[in-house]
């Protein structure tokens, strides 16, 4: 995995979050590289099974590619936090600096950084969520413990935080934070799920179905996939 490969995967990841599939033109614009070299690189990445590439349908990440892209984004954002929070470097400058450093940061260093920063959940310059870590070794006791309880709980660092699909009928909670793209987040905010809002769960449908929340005297049905990303502090 070379540095430029990581940049490509990161770009494909970012674009396909916004438009489902990443076209070659978009990638070439994002990386400021000629379309011909983009095509060449995409083919190379496809050979190694990091992306699914088709000249007409655009590019999507494979599981393997997604993992690397998320990992790079995580390193990038952890570094931004570190540069900004600890070294007090100006916000406007942290992004570029982090872009340089993300490729050389080892996984060990990433883990330590995460622990040192007390598992932050968003990056400073654009509020993007830091992807959860994928620790396998037991150097960070807390992380491992979190890991055992399932992926969606990794990254929560306050006490009592739980995603709303885990609440039971009739339980109350206060919105703490929501993960997800701008579009979903905006829609949930519009519907009244702003941080600090008190909600209660009225119904959880069986078989991985949606939940019904009571929020600001309205009733809101939310699919499980989205409910998993809404974290609340439980109130009794």
């Amino acid at each position: 995995m070379t540095r430029s490969m990581e940049d490509y995967l990161k770009a494909v990841h970012k674009i396909s979050r916004e438009e489902e599939v990443a076209s070659t033109t978009k990638i070439s614009k994002a990386l400021r590289v000629a379309p011909a070299s983009v095509t060449e690189m995409l083919k190379k990445l496809a050979e190694k099974d990091y992306v699914k590439y088709s000249p007409y349908h655009g590019t999507t990440l494979t599981k393997k590619g997604l993992k690397i892209a998320e990992k790079t984004a995580r390193k990038h954002r952890l570094l931004e936090r570190f540069l900004h929070d600890v070294l007090k470097i100006d916000k406007i400058k942290v992004h570029e600096q982090a872009c340089e450093m993300e490729h050389t940061l080892s996984d060990d260093a990433e883990e330590s950084l995460c622990r040192f920063l007390k598992h932050p959940d968003s990056c400073p310059d654009d509020g993007k969520i830091i992807p959860p870590c994928d620790l396998k070794i037991s150097s960070c006791a807390e992380c491992v413990q979190l890991h055992k309880r399932g992926l969606e709980e990794v990254g929560k660092h306050k006490q009592n935080l739980i995603s709303i699909n885990k609440l039971k009928d009739g339980q109350f909670g206060k919105i703490s934070f929501i993960r997800g793209g701008h579009k979903v987040l905006q829609r949930l905010l519009d519907m009244g799920l702003t941080p600090g809002t008190r909600i209660s769960v009225l119904r959880v449908a069986p078989l991985g179905g949606p939940v019904v929340l009571a929020v600001r005297s309205s009733k809101l049905a939310i699919g499980k996939g989205i409910a998993k990303k809404v974290f609340v502090e439980i109130e009794e």
Binding site: E20, V21, R187, L189, D190, G192
Partner: protein
């Protein structure tokens, strides 16, 4: 016309006291269209589920000496541009500048509705607040202080119960007043951190004099929120403003440790919440009937029964009531039935016979089956059960790449595919709209139900007809799964407001039933009669045989049908009922069990149900999704009809 000359023109009109434009805006399902229909006598779709009105509609009204044009806008929750409806409403209010915007609110969900009101105030729209559904709010123990609300927002407030027409006169009165008098508007100040930055940016926008159609304060807020459209727009005029807005929003997100668009939303909600708690008193109420219904319909056991009950009950009801009424009507008509069906002899009598058969078939099918069906559909739509069914079936719908909300257009598809495909706009992405529309082309619409009833239900009994429906539902699921794999892209999740149950309003329901039936009687009936006469004449003159023969490898050899069905299937593309009416015309009898064997009747009904969307459906598919998608869907229909029809024929030969 530039926006300047238009505003001058409008102010001139005001002096003459002639023309005014009123727009109805607000959250989904608050009662905008009920008000619109009451004011203008139009027939907008009404029902108790969010997202019925998808395009803006226009109507007119005379009030005192004003000629008022009223615009019904789609229901939205905010002015971001993530959905089409939001763009439609935002562009309309900002660019067309109606003389007054009536902001319709669901009084029982005041706080959430005020979130949108605040955005209208940010847009500097001349406003009247219409607190609708006061009856529901009362039932929930909510008492709203109108004066306090008016004072807090600086906007006139009118309380209404739209379904009963209560308060609508005052509403128009106060709208006209706002439109014609220069009222002073109150400024809403947000929290200090945010407010100072909004003001800084507003001032900058004003000194830079970038000439945009939107008010400066609103642009400032949208820039801070990072609204992509507005950022792009402003950037084209002045990059400096965008840069500064970026820095300001960074500052804000550092202070609050949240992205800036979330801070703005929180601020609005904080304001809405403050107003609500001062203007509304909430009394304790006992568990209302509507709450109990909610409990049952979302229950993990009963909920599924009810959901399936709604999906199948609509068809069952059509059968039972329709069968009964149809019996009565054909008895009533029998005295004028000609003794000898004419298939030969003078051409005039052949044509007359065709006309008569077309008429009888129309009367005995349309009235008894279609009216009860539309009546129950309107009841179901207006009750609020559809969102509960959507909730219960969400995980099933995910299996075909959709989410629960897509079930609503599918159920509407029992009526007619065209409005059903239109309402696919409630889905979030094009991919989901396409998948839902594809599924709808297989849903048995009223026309197909008539064919199934006329071919199978009448001669072989309702069990066979219901079996066909069951087969169809299974097919929809299987084909939907295939389509999901074929069409690339991700699925989005469900986010849907569930409004309280309501007792369906009889006037709304009967009007809706009549509107839909009327379109069948006046538009489709003549087509039945003319079509049926033409077919019979062509048949008598032996003009159909060459075409039928050309298609016989498919119809006779593979599907085991009489050769003449080839021509019927071609006619059926125009309207599916022609398959039935054509058969009646060609064979000169309403008893089809002679010319067809039972196996043939079932096979024909099955093929008719699947083989292609009818002409008007194809047209709307082209309009919504383009040629390519419409063609692919039609071809997929034809192929599945041929495969399944042939297999069914062979299987039925063994069973029957």
């Amino acid at each position: 016309m530039s926006c300047h000359s238009e505003s001058i023109e409008k102010s001139n009109n005001r002096k003459n006291g002639e023309k005014l434009t009123i727009a109805l805006a607000g959250n989904a399902n608050v009662g905008k269209s009920v008000i619109f229909n009451q004011l203008t006598g139009s027939n907008q779709i009404i029902g108790n589920w969010p997202g019925k009105t998808v395009d803006r509609a226009e109507g007119s009204l005379c009030f005192e000496n004003y000629e008022i044009s009223v615009i019904d806008l789609p229901g939205i929750y905010s002015f971001s541009t993530f959905s089409l409806e939001e763009v439609v409403s935002r562009e309309y209010i900002a660019k067309e500048k109606p003389d007054v915007v009536i902001n319709v609110l669901d009084a029982s969900v005041l706080e959430r509705n005020l979130f949108f009101t605040l955005q209208l105030i940010e847009m500097n729209a001349p406003l009247v607040l219409c607190l609708n559904q006061i009856d529901i709010a009362k039932k929930k123990g909510m008492i709203i202080d109108k004066q306090k609300l008016e004072k807090a927002l600086g906007v006139p407030v009118v309380l209404t119960i739209a379904t009963r027409g209560e308060g609508l006169y005052e509403l128009i009165e106060s709208a006209v007043k706002v439109a014609t008098e220069n009222t002073k508007r109150k400024k809403i100040n947000y929290h200090n951190d945010l407010e100072t930055r909004i003001e800084k940016l507003t001032q900058l926008i004003e000194t830079e004099k970038i000439d945009l159609e939107y008010p400066s304060r609103w642009i400032a807020i949208k820039l801070l929120e990072g609204d992509t459209e507005i950022v792009k727009l402003v950037k084209s005029k002045s990059a400096k403003i965008v840069d500064i807005s970026y820095i300001l929003s960074q500052e804000l997100s550092t202070i609050h440790d949240e992205p800036c668009f979330s801070i703005v939303a929180s601020e609005r909600y904080a304001y809405a919440s403050m107003i609500t708690s001062s203007a509304m008193k909430q009394n304790e109420v006992k568990n209302t009937f509507s709450e109990k219904l909610d409990w049952v319909t979302t229950h993990k056991v009963f909920g599924y029964f009810i959901a399936i009950g709604v999906i199948t009950g609509l068809l069952l009801w059509t059968f039972i009531v329709g069968d009964f009424l149809s019996g009565l009507i054909s008895e009533g008509l029998s005295f004028i039935e000609p003794l000898d069906p004419q298939v030969s002899g003078p051409i005039v009598s052949v044509i007359w016979n065709g006309v008569f058969n077309g008429f009888v078939a129309g009367v005995t099918l349309v009235i008894p089956f279609v009216i009860p069906f539309y009546f129950l559909l309107a009841m179901i739509e207006d009750s609020g059960i559809l969102t509960r069914v959507a909730f219960m079936m969400d995980s099933v719908m995910h299996k075909i790449g959709l989410h629960g909300k897509a079930l609503i257009p599918l159920i509407l598809g029992y009526g007619c595919s065209v409005p059903a495909i239109h309402s696919c706009k409630i889905m979030e992405s094009r991919r989901e709209r396409l998948l839902a529309a594809f599924a709808i082309t297989f849903v048995p619409c009223a026309a197909r139900t008539l064919v199934i009833l006329g071919l199978v239900g009448v001669f072989l009994g309702p069990i066979w007809a219901l079996t066909l429906y069951a087969v169809d539902l299974i097919l929809i699921f299987l084909l939907g799964r295939i389509a999901m794999k074929v069409v690339p892209g991700k699925s989005t999740g469900l986010i849907m407001e569930m409004h309280s149950f309501k007792v369906p309003s009889l006037s709304v329901v009967s009007k809706q039933t009549w509107t839909r039936t009327k379109s069948i009687i006046f538009m489709v009936f003549p087509i039945y009669i003319i079509g049926s006469a033409i077919v019979q004449a062509l048949y008598a003159l032996d003009l159909l045989t060459p075409i039928s023969n050309a298609m016989s490898p498919l119809t006779v050899t593979w599907l085991g049908l009489p050769a003449i069905t080839g021509i019927l299937l071609i006619l059926g593309v125009v309207r599916k009922e022609f398959i039935l009416l054509g058969a009646v015309a060609v064979f000169g009898t309403t008893n089809l069990l002679g010319p067809f064997s039972p196996v043939q009747l079932i096979t024909l009904a099955l093929v008719a149900m699947l083989y292609i969307p009818c002409l008007s459906t194809i047209i709307i598919l082209i309009k919504e999704f383009g040629w390519k998608a419409a063609t692919s869907i039609s071809i997929a229909n034809i192929i599945s009809a041929i495969i399944i029809g042939g297999l069914a024929y062979r299987l039925l030969e063994i069973i029957l």
